[in-house]
Symmetry: C2
Subunit: 768 residues, 2 copies
C-alpha cells in the first residue's frame, strides 16, 4: 500500500522526493491526451530505478510468442504498443556535472498533477555533489486541444551557482521495450536530422509498415529575455536535439520551452510525415507556451463541465473519483474507432496496450452515461470492424459457419493472448460484447445501431455458443464444458454459472433483436439474412439452448454456484489467509490457488450485477453473503461490482470500503503493482459504484430509476448522466435528491419507484 | 506411418535411399552404448534435411524457461542434455567435388542396423554432378565394451574416378542445440588443438562447470596398405581434424578408421581430461578396428544371451521386439545411479534428455525382469538421491514438513517442466515411485532396500499426499482437487480416479512397510524415525485417508470414472473422428481436446493394470470395453497397457494389434513424429505386453504365475525372466509352455493356477 501522496480534491501531490516510489510515481503522474501519453519520467537524466515509457495509440509492434508453443490454435504473435521514441527528454549540464536526482541531494521537492488543467508540475531544489544548488520547475502537458503535441516548460534558477548551464532538449529513438521478446528495440530509424526547421527522428516499427516522426523545436529565455543565438546541433544515428548553453548566476533563471510533435502514418501519409511533423512543431513554437496551455486548459474545463463528480466531506474519495475520471478521459477521447482503451492506458508496458473485455464491462457504460454518445459508439464500432477477425479466430479453434469468438487480448482483432486456459476458455468475453450492444440501445434509444451493425455481431456470437455447448445425457441439459470464467483463479471448469448465464443472455438478446428488426426493418432484415445466411434450424437450436441450459445451483441455500464441484472445496473466508501471503497470486503456487475456494473476482456476483433485472434482492443477498467473503478482489474489475451490489442490498459500509478500494486501487496501490502502470479500464468502476451503487441508478423497461443512498462519510455527492436525449445533473445528500435537466426538454424518471418529471433547467428536489 | 523399412528378424534395413525420410532414419538408426549416443547422421556432408545430434549422458545444459512466467512455483530454468560436439564427422572431397548425398545421384543404397552386433552399416554407390562414381561403405559403433569410444570404418572405392580423394575426419564443437532458448550454441570452447597425439576439442557447457573433451586418431589404408604420410592438420577455433589425400583409380579402395574418445568431467578430473582423452584415442588406435569390434560384439552377445525374445512365425513382431530391447539397452546400462533413461534416449532433442515417470512405469519392471537386479536398483537409487530436491520442490509449492513431490521432468532432481497443468498438477508421478520400490521388493525379495532407502522416500511422499488431499463436506470424503492424470487430454480435474487410487496405494504401502520395518528391523526403524521425525498423528491421518478416500464411479455400469464430471461429455468412439484429424493433438485446438471424451492414455485402465491384484476380470472387462474405444493412444505409454489388459480378458486380436502398435510405434511411425527421436522408455512396453500380457505373468503373494496364451499370428515365442534368485527361460506355443531354470537351484511357480516346481537346467513342458 502507498501512503506517500497527499490528499487534495483537485490534485495529486507528492511532497518531498520518494526515490523508492519513483516507479510508482511515474505511473501515477502519467499524462496523456487520448492519442499520446507517457509515464512521468523526469525530463533530465535519472540514473536510478525508472521505467521509461512513451506511447502512441494505435501503433502496434508484433512480438514473438514464446509460450504454449505446441498447442494448436494459439497465436504465433503477440501485439503490443511499443515504447515510442522518448520525446520528453531534456538533459541539463552545469559544466562538469549533470542534473540527476538520483545522485544529487534533493533539498526540496514537490510534484503535482493538476487534474483540473491536465498539467504536471514539478518544483525542486537540488544540490550537486560539488555543491551547486539550483531550483528546477517543470510544467508539461500533452495537449488536449491538438493531440499531437507534448509541451514542456523547463525552468532552472541558480541558488549558488555561477557559470554555464547547458540545456539539451532531445528526442531519443534508441528506446528499449522491456517486455519484448523478439527485439527489445522496436524501432528502425529511417532518418534523424537536425535542420533549421527543427530536430526530428523518423522511425518505422520493425517488421511492420507503420512509421512515426517526432519533431521538436524550442525557445530559451534568460530571465525574461529570449536567447536566440544558434545552438549546437546534436545529430546522432538514433538521437537528435540541441545543446544550448548560457551563463547564469545566483538568482537568475533560464527557461526552456520544448515543443514536440508526435506524428504517425495512422493519420498522415508517409510521404508527408516528416514535413508535417516539422511544420507542426514550428507552428506550436509560433503559438507559444501560453496560448497552447490556454487551449489545453479550455478543453479540460469543457471535460469537467461535462462529467465532474463531486463528493463533499470526504477529500480522499473526492480526489480518487476525479483521478479516475481524469485518467480515463486522458486515455480515451473517442475520436477514432480504430482505437480502444488499453488496460493500462499509456502508463506502462503491461498488457501491451491491448484491448480486453474490460472495455465493455466498465468503460462503455461510463462513456455512455458521461460523455456524448458517439464516443461509446466508437468503442462498439471497434468490435464491429473486427468481426471478420473474430470469425477467423473461431475458425482457428475449429468453429465453422461464421461463428465468432472475439479475442481475449487484441490490437487489431487478432487474438494475441496465449495461455490456453484463457485464450481458448475464457469465452465469456463474447457475452459482454452483446451486452454492450444491448446497453447502448437501452441507454441511447438508437435502435438503428442494431440493424446497421449490432445484429450481425450478435448472430456470429450466437453461432459460436450454439457450437460450443454440448448436451449432457446424464443431466439432460445443455452444458458448457472446459471454460474459464472471469474468476481466473479457476481454470478449465465445467458449467461456470456466469458463462452459462451469459451464453443464454446472448442467445435471448439475439432472438429478441432478430424479431425486432424483422418486424420493424424488413428490408434491412432481408439484406442481413442474405449476408449471413441464417437458417431456421439455427434459430431453433438457439431457442432450445435458451430453454434447456444447465446451471449449477445450491437449492438449499438459494445460491448460484461458481461452477460444478465448487462445493467440494474447503470453504473458507479470505480473512483466514495470512495477510503476508496476499495478493495470493504473488505468493501461492498456481495449483494451490486453483484448488482453494478463493475467488479473484466473483463470477456469480458479476452476472447478478450485469443482468440485475432478473434477480430478486433476496438472491443478491444470499449470493453476496456467500461469495464476498471468499473474494480476494485481486482483479481491479472486482471491487466496484461488489460495491454496487452491497449498496443495492443496503450494506453501505461494505459498499463504501469496496468503493474506496476500487477507486484508490492505484493511488493507494492495493495490489502492490502500481509501478507497472495504472488500472485504467477499471477506473470506470468507481464512477459506476457511485451512480449505480450509491445513487441506485438502474434502467428498467427503458426507464431510468434511482434509489439514492449516501455513505455516512459523505455530506453530499453529485454527478451527471446522459440517458436517451437527456443530460441530468443529480445531487444527493442524506436527506434529499436534487435534479437539474441540463439537456433535453423534459425527462421522466423514477426515484424509489416514484415517477417524477423534469423540465429543462428547472431544479427539482425530493426528500429521501 | 512409415513403410519404407524392410522386415528382418535381426536387422533394420533401408534398401534404396529415402531422402524424404532422412530425419526419420536418423532417429531409427541411432546408436548408443549407455554413455554416449548419436543420431544416424551421415559422416560426410549432407546439405538437405537433417537433425544433427550427438549426446553424452549426465551432461546438463541449463536453459532459460520462457513459459508460465508469472505463475509462482514454476522453475526458472529448463535442463537438457545438450547437443555435443559432433564426433562422427568425416568429410570427403574428390578434388573439386565433395560427397553430399543430397546433391549426388544415389545409384544404390543400403543402410542396415545390425541389432545382434550393435553395428550400423551403410553401403552405397553414388555419382557426383560431374559424373564421378564411387562406392562408399561405412560401419560404425559406439563401443559397448569401452563406453567412451565411437569407432568408424569409412571405405571409399572408385568406380570410374581417377584422382585424389581427400578424407577429412573431424570433431566440430560449433554445434547448434535447436530447441535451446538461451543459447543455441551450448558450448564454450576452451581449447582446440591438433597435436601429434591426436586432435581434440575441449569444451565447457555454458554457465556450468561440466567439461567435455572429444579426441580422435585415425588410420588410413589404400587397398590393404596403411598410408602413414603426414596429414594436413585442421585446427580452427571450434573444429579440429585432419585432411588426408590419396590418389585412387577405378577399383581401388581407401579405408579410413576414425577412433574417437568422448570424455567428460562426470568421470575424469578436469585436470586430466585432455590427457586421458588423447591417451584413450591413442589406445583405441593401437587396439585397432578388429579387436575393438570383437570386444563390442562380445558384449552384445552377452546381452542377447541374457534377454533375447524370440517370436516365431511373425517376422515383423520379431524384428520389433528385438529393436525395442536393443534400443533400451543401448540407452541404459545401469552402471551409474546418476544416470537415468531419457524419454528419447540419445536419439533427439525432444524431452531434453530428461527423466520422466516413464522410467518407473515401463523401464524398472523391464530391467528388473530382464537384466541383473543392480541395474534396476540404480534406477531406484537415482530417485533416492534426489529426495532432498523433491522435498524442496514440494516446499516451493507450499508444502511443509518434509513432504516430497518428485519432479515431472528432471535432470538432477530439480523440476524443469513448466506448464502449470503438468508441473503442478500431474502429481500422480509420486505414486509410481512408491510402486517401483514395492515392485523391486516383490521381484527381488531384497527387503533391505526398504529400510536402507525406500521407506524414507515413501514417508516423504505420504506426507505430500496427506497435505494435498482435502475434505469435502458435501461428499463426506477426502478428495483430490485440481489434478491432471496421466491422460493429459484433461487438465485440472477433480478426483481423477487414477490419482486418488495411487494416493491411497502409496499410503497403504507406506503403512505396510512402516510396520514391517518396525517389527523386523527395530534399530534401523528407530534411526529412521529419528531422522524423519514421524508423528503418530501423521500415521492416523494416512489411515483416515486410506479409509475415506472418494472415488468417482458409475455404479450402474460398474465403471471407475476418469474424473468427476466425465459422464457429462458427449461419449463417442475414436472411430468417429475423421482419420485426417489424427493425432488430434496435431489438428485440434486444446480446448476442443479437453472437452472431448477422448483419452490420450487411459488412467483407469492404467490403474487397473498396475494394481491388478485388486480387480476382478469382470471389472477389467467393463472398464476396458468402456475406455478402450475412447482412447487415442497418442501417448506411447498407452498401447502396451491396453494390450496387457486385452490379453488378460482373452481378447487376443485386440491385444495383438495394440502390441504391434506399441512395439512398432517408431519403426512404423504411428504418431507421425519419429523424426524427433525414438520413444525409448515406452519400448519396454512391448516386452511387458508379451510377458505380462500374452504369457500372463503376474506376481501374487510373492509367487510367480503364468496364464499363457499366444496370438494366432505366432507359432511360438520365448523370453527369460528374473524373479527372486531365479532366471527362467520360457517358451510358449499354442499347445504348451516350456520352462528351463537357467539360474537358481529350484523354483516354484504357477501355470494357470497349477503349482509347478523347476530344477536347475532341467526342462519342463506343460500342455496348455
Amino acid at each position: 500500500m502507498n501512503n506517500y501522496l497527499q490528499t487534495d480534491e483537485w490534485n495529486i501531490i507528492e511532497e518531498g522526493f520518494h526515490a523508492d516510489k519513483q516507479c510508482a510515481s511515474e505511473s501515477i503522474f502519467s499524462l496523456a491526451n487520448g492519442q499520446i501519453g507517457q509515464r512521468a519520467n523526469f525530463e533530465e537524466t535519472y540514473s536510478s530505478d525508472s521505467m521509461q515509457g512513451s506511447y502512441a495509440a494505435g501503433i502496434t509492434f508484433w512480438d514473438e510468442t514464446v509460450v504454449g508453443w505446441w498447442k494448436n490454435g494459439l497465436p504465433h504473435h503477440y501485439s503490443c504498443t511499443p515504447n515510442s521514441p522518448n520525446w520528453s527528454g531534456i538533459r541539463v549540464r552545469l559544466i562538469d556535472e549533470e542534473i540527476d536526482m538520483a545522485q544529487w541531494e534533493v533539498d526540496a521537492f514537490r510534484r503535482e498533477l493538476h487534474m483540473r488543467t491536465g498539467i504536471l508540475e514539478r518544483t525542486c531544489q537540488i544540490t550537486s555533489p560539488k555543491d551547486k544548488t539550483v531550483q528546477v520547475q517543470v510544467e508539461r502537458f500533452n495537449s488536449m486541444d491538438e493531440q499531437n503535441l507534448c509541451i514542456i516548460k523547463y525552468q532552472i534558477t541558480s541558488v549558488n551557482y555561477k557559470g554555464k548551464v547547458s540545456l539539451i532538449p532531445f528526442i531519443d529513438g534508441d528506446v528499449t521495450h522491456e517486455s519484448a521478446n523478439l527485439s527489445k528495440k522496436p524501432w528502425n530509424i529511417i532518418k534523424s536530422e537536425v535542420s533549421n526547421n527543427g530536430a526530428y527522428i523518423w522511425t518505422q516499427i520493425k517488421r511492420e509498415t507503420t512509421q512515426m516522426c517526432c519533431a521538436c523545436q524550442y525557445q530559451l529565455f534568460k530571465n525574461e529575455k529570449e536567447i536566440t543565438k544558434g545552438p549546437i546541433k546534436i545529430e546522432k544515428d538514433k538521437l537528435v536535439g540541441y545543446s544550448i548553453g548560457e551563463e547564469i548566476k545566483p538568482g537568475e533563471t533560464l527557461t526552456l520551452y520544448k515543443y514536440t510533435t508526435i506524428e504517425s502514418t495512422l493519420y498522415i501519409d508517409r510521404n508527408l510525415l516528416v514535413t508535417e511533423a516539422l511544420k507542426n512543431a514550428q507552428k506550436a513554437k509560433e503559438k507559444g507556451w501560453l496560448q497552447l496551455k490556454e487551449a489545453h486548459k479550455q478543453q479540460w474545463t469543457r471535460i469537467w463541465d461535462e462529467c465532474d463528480v463531486t463528493i463533499e466531506g470526504d477529500a480522499k474519495a473526492q480526489q480518487a473519483i476525479r483521478y479516475n475520471i481524469f485518467q480515463l478521459l486522458q486515455t480515451y477521447q473517442g475520436k477514432d474507432p480504430r482505437l480502444n482503451i488499453a488496460a493500462k492506458g499509456f502508463t506502462g508496458e503491461k498488457y501491451g496496450g491491448n484491448t480486453y473485455w474490460n472495455t465493455e464491462l466498465c468503460c462503455v457504460p461510463f462513456m455512455l452515461l458521461s460523455v456524448p454518445f458517439p464516443i461509446a459508439k466508437n468503442l462498439l464500432l471497434y468490435r464491429y470492424h473486427q468481426l471478420g477477425k473474430a470469425i477467423k479466430n473461431a475458425e482457428l479453434l475449429g468453429f465453422t459457419k461464421g461463428a465468432a469468438l472475439y479475442p481475449m487480448v487484441t490490437a487489431n482483432g487478432e487474438e494475441c493472448h496465449n495461455e490456453w486456459e484463457i485464450t481458448f476458455e475464457e469465452i465469456h468475453r463474447n457475452s459482454i460484447i452483446v451486452y454492450a450492444i444491448d446497453q447502448y440501445v437501452r441507454y441511447t434509444g438508437d435502435h438503428s445501431y442494431v440493424v446497421d451493425y449490432g445484429l450481425e455481431v450478435m448472430i456470429a456470437i450466437a453461432r459460436f455458443w450454439q457450437q460450443r455447448v454440448s448436451f449432457s445425457t446424464i443431466k439432460n441439459k445443455y452444458v458448457l464444458l472446459g471454460v474459464t470464467g472471469p474468476n481466473e483463479y479457476e481454470n478449465n471448469v465445467n458449467n461456470n454459472w456466469y458463462t452459462n448465464y451469459g451464453c443464454v443472455q446472448c442467445l435471448k438478446l439475439t432472438l429478441h433483436y432478430l424479431q425486432e428488426v424483422a418486424e420493424q426493418r424488413p428490408t434491412e432484415w432481408a439484406n442481413l439474412m442474405d449476408k449471413v445466411q441464417l437458417q431456421e434450424k439455427e434459430i431453433q437450436d438457439w431457442q432450445a439452448i435458451v430453454e434447456d441450459m444447465y446451471f449449477p445451483v445450491d437449492q438449499e441455500r438459494d445460491l448460484f454456484l461458481q461452477e460444478d464441484g465448487y462445493l467440494d472445496k474447503e470453504l473458507k473466508s479470505v480473512e483466514e489467509i495470512n495477510p503476508k501471503e496476499r495478493p495470493i497470486n504473488q505468493y501461492w503456487s498456481w495449483d494451490r490457488i486453483l484448488r482453494s475456494c478463493f475467488i479473484k473476482q466473483s463470477d456469480v456476483l458479476l452476472g447478478i450485477y450485469l443482468y440485475y433485472t432478473n434477480f430478486s434482492e433476496e438472491q443478491i443477498k444470499n449470493n453476496f453473503h456467500f461469495y464476498e467473503p471468499k473474494t480476494l478482489h485481486e482483479s481491479s474489475l472486482s471491487p466496484f461490482v461488489h460495491a454496487i451490489l452491497a449498496a443495492r442490498i443496503g450494506e453501505l459500509e461494505k459498499a463504501y470500503s469496496l468503493f474506496m478500494q476500487s477507486t484508490r486501487i492505484d493511488l493507494d496501490d492495493y495490489n502492490n503493482e502500481v509501478e507497472q502502470g495504472l488500472h485504467i479500464t477499471s477506473m470506470a468502476g468507481g464512477w459506476l459504484a457511485i451512480v449505480e451503487g450509491f445513487a441506485g441508478m438502474t434502467v428498467k423497461k427503458d426507464q431510468l430509476h434511482f434509489h439514492p443512498q449516501i455513505p455516512k462519510e459523505w455530506r453530499a455527492y453529485s454527478f451527471r448522466v446522459n440517458f436517451m436525449k437527456n443530460k441530468l445533473f443529480i445531487r444527493i445528500t442524506d436527506k434529499s435528491i436534487s435534479f437539474r435537466l441540463e439537456e433535453g426538454e423534459q425527462a421522466t424518471l423514477y426515484v424509489n419507484k416514484k415517477k417524477i418529471t423534469l423540465i429543462y433547467q428547472k431544479a427539482l428536489t425530493l426528500k429521501i
